[in-house]
């Protein structure tokens, strides 16, 4: 009996049924968006959900999501100006997404997914996430009366868990969800498929058009809030980048609000650490908003739990900067001690970048870090740094440029040493192009080139130059 089950649920068998399972668990036929060649119709997929921006706003208002305040950070602005050239140092703002019911912007991604699942008659929702998205889905499922399963990558092989992930498990359970906790490995998505097949629940994927469409309200609010309060648009909006949905949705919302702000991605630099490594799992002090997700998902958005990801950040990114772990912990402490706001570190990734980028901008300009997230036992600088030290990571003051992920965390000895560093965006664009044409079965057409221009926010000359190198 058990043998039969094992054969049926083997990794190969289950992943082989992925298309069929996802089709049943989402009611979306992704094949209809495929075009000849390498292209697919992204806008058709985004528009096909049946939910417009106005619908997302209505659903979110109905479920207490969004309409979060913007705060001007006067003291951080004053501090940045001390290290900027005369006349430089833009006004720094933050959008307080921690004031959503489950404590993060992720609830914007969850609201429509849960709403849609209920409308379609699903009894529950499932999401694969070690992050705030779990709490967001659990919160919306609680509010809208559906069951909820969250599948987390949580522990290493010694059952040692990242404190911030354990806190998120607690929160999900507090909101009524079942939490399946796994050890390190990409088979998280396998386990989700097993659960979807077993329960018949809806796949509340982070990468669906429902989810990413929901983040458009954030960009739309930013566009309107600054106009209403200050009579002008922000100049730069910084988005923490991991899976890409935050930046994609925000940028689409800004465009819909008519806001011309430059969109900058920011990720914590975890270069050299493997995300799927059992031994390195607990040597990192950030479990999200880092380059370990940010770079691979930007250059290969379709390796998620849906056939075509709605999160395609390179379509919208004007610039990509990285910050060090020590810099994000430092700005988190600065936010507490200079601005009186205690928030969780990962959500301050964009703020760390904004503090540095503001110093390049004029004083009458505005830069916004577009999120904060809730903090508490586990997800707070104190337990995260204590956990790092316990795992042999050295904590020191100095130049964060010297930080080696997995070995040390270097806090800026002086605020002037906090520097957002530019990542090579053209390199990432070229990487995306190479990946997408790798499996092409026919010669690349003009339509393919036009699609790749959109995918990379570049131009025809750039795409053709990359194609010529293949």
């Amino acid at each position: 009996m058990i043998n039969g089950m094992i054969v049926d649920k083997s990794y190969q068998a289950v992943t082989g049924r992925k298309a069929e399972i996802i089709d049943k668990a989402m009611g979306v036929d992704y094949s209809k968006y495929e075009r000849d060649g390498v292209a697919f119709d992204y806008e058709a997929m985004m528009n096909d959900t049946g939910y417009t921006l106005a619908d997302h706003i209505r659903i979110q208002r109905q479920h207490n999501v969004g309409n979060t305040p913007i705060f001007e950070l006067h003291n951080l602005t004053a501090l940045a100006r001390k290290y900027a050239a005369p006349g430089k140092g833009a006004r720094i703002f933050v959008k307080d997404e921690a004031s959503n019911p489950a404590g993060s912007f992720k609830e914007r991604r969850a609201a429509a997914s849960v709403y849609h699942a209920k409308k379609m008659g699903y009894k529950g929702v499932i999401a694969a996430t070690s992050g705030n998205y779990g709490a967001a889905v659990a919160s919306q499922a609680a509010m809208q009366g559906l069951k909820c399963i969250i599948v987390q990558e949580c522990y290493d092989s010694h059952a040692s868990g990242q404190p911030e992930i354990i806190e998120k498990a607690r929160k999900c359970e507090a909101l009524g969800a079942e939490v399946l906790q796994l050890t390190v490995g990409p088979e998280l998505f396998y386990e989700v498929l097993v659960m979807l097949e077993e329960t018949g629940y809806f796949n509340a994927s982070l990468y669906s058009a429902f989810g990413v469409g929901g983040v458009e309200t954030l960009g739309w609010e930013l566009g309107h809030q600054f106009l209403e309060r200050y009579g002008r648009h922000p100049d730069v909006v910084v988005c923490a980048n991991a899976g890409g949905g935050n930046l994609t949705g925000t940028a689409r919302g800004l465009i819909k609000a008519g806001c011309p702000a430059q969109v900058v991605a920011a990720s914590v630099d975890l270069k050299g650490l493997s995300m799927a490594s059992d031994k390195q799992f607990n040597r990192k002090s950030f479990t999200t908003a880092h380059t370990g997700f940010g770079v691979p998902y930007a250059t290969d958005p379709d390796h998620s739990d849906v056939p075509r990801s709605a999160a395609r950040p390179l379509r919208y990114m004007d610039r990509y900067v990285t910050v060090k772990q020590g810099e994000v912990f430092y700005i988190t402490e600065a936010l507490a001690t200079l601005e009186g706001m205690e928030k969780r570190p990962a959500g301050n990734t964009s703020l760390a970048a904004a503090f540095s980028l503001a110093q390049e901008m004029d004083q009458d300009q505005i830069i916004v870090a577009q999120e904060t997230e809730y903090t508490g036992a586990g997800k707070h600088i104190q337990p995260q740094l204590a956990f790092a030290r316990q795992n042999g990571i050295e904590l020191l003051f100095g130049d964060p440029a010297d930080e080696i992920p997995g070995t040390n965390i270097v806090f800026p000895a002086d605020p002037g040493l906090l520097k957002a560093r530019d990542a090579d965006l053209d390199h990432m664009r070229a990487s995306l192009i190479r990946r997408q044409v790798r499996n092409a079965t026919a010669p690349i057409t003009d339509a393919d080139v036009a699609y790749l221009v959109e995918e990379t926010k570049s131009d025809e000359a750039f795409v053709r130059k990359v194609l010529a190198t293949l």
Binding site: Y11, T15, N75, A78, L79, K82, G124, K147, C148, I149, Y155, S157, A159, P163, E167, R170, E173, A177, E178, V179, L180, Q181, L182, T183, V184, G185, P186, E187, Y190, E191, E198, T199, A276, S277, D278, Y330, E333, A334, A336, T337, L338, A377, G378, H380, I381, Q382, P383, Q384, L385, A386, F387, R389, Q390, L395, L396, F397, F411, A413, D414, P415
Partner: protein
Amino acid sequence: MAKKNDWVRIHRNVLEPQERTGKLPEDTKQVPLEMWVKGRLQNETAEIGDEVTIVTSVGRTEHGRLIEVNPCYELNYGAFVPEILEMEGRLRSALFGGDRA
């Protein structure tokens, strides 16, 4: 000893090392994919370490080795990290001057 309907936590290996995907770092390849989940015990009685069946909060039946009865959260704010106080002092002094640090 745990009794039927007690809230418990169980553990089992979902995939043994040889059953995992090939696309893994060497260290992860050597270890199984493990799972932990909570629910109500279905066995009449059980001891820690027994193979048991549970029903989870969404009503799903799961099986595994009993590891905890009445599982609690033990997360906290961790050991004291003096560098945090040091950051606070340096930040205050950078903005307000030494006497306010």
